[in-house]
């Protein structure tokens, strides 16, 4: 497997830890932190794929994904703050 494969597997393996916290996290805030962390990693894998295969479109996808991930985290936090729970 080339360097690209190893890098992406490396990023995804380190993504297992936030995934564990997403599953186990007692509070909503642990889960939001884990989601935010996973979003950054997915954007990184996309950027790595774009850089190695030369397809520039994937980099735009990574940027859009990072933006939406950030938006999602902030909106969920705001909802958790003011939600009707």
């Amino acid at each position: 497997m080339g360097l690209k494969g190893w890098l992406e597997v490396g990023v995804l393996v380190t993504a297992a830890l936030p995934l564990f916290r997403l599953w186990k996290g007692p509070t909503l805030w642990d889960r939001l932190a884990a989601t935010s962390s996973l979003n950054v990693r997915v954007a990184l894998v996309l950027a790595c794929e774009a850089s190695f295969t030369g397809r520039g479109l994937l980099l735009d996808v990574a940027l859009a994904y990072a933006a939406l991930g950030f938006l999602g985290t902030v909106l969920l936090a705001r909802f958790g703050e003011r939600g009707e729970r």
Binding site: S36, R55, F70
Partner: protein, 97 residues
């Protein structure tokens, strides 16, 4: 060669950011550890990608790097503020502002 070092450093910081989720107790510590580890790891990783092959990444990659650098802490702050407002106090007590 330097790109490999940067990429490896990025991966290492990502791993440390992940370990923060295991080792630290309480949402606030995890938010701090993960926020710093992730964004630092992502920055190093992206700079490694730029150094390795600028033709395929270009300025959009720099935009992604700047975006992550600016919005990472904002997201962490939003979650921490929401937790604080909902009454979760850090270990040290944390007086209301």
């Amino acid at each position: 060669m330097t790109s490999l070092a940067l990429l490896a450093g990025g991966l290492l910081l990502l791993l440390l950011g992940g370990v923060a989720f295991l080792r630290l107790q309480g949402p606030y510590e995890r938010l701090q550890g993960a926020g710093v580890g992730d964004i630092g790891g992502a920055a190093l990783f992206l700079i490694g990608l730029f150094v390795r092959d600028w033709s395929t990444t270009g300025w959009v990659g720099v935009l992604l790097l700047l975006f992550l650098l600016f919005t990472g802490p904002v997201a962490t702050h939003a979650v921490a503020k929401a937790a604080f407002v909902r009454g979760l106090r850090p270990k040290g007590g944390g007086r209301c502002p």
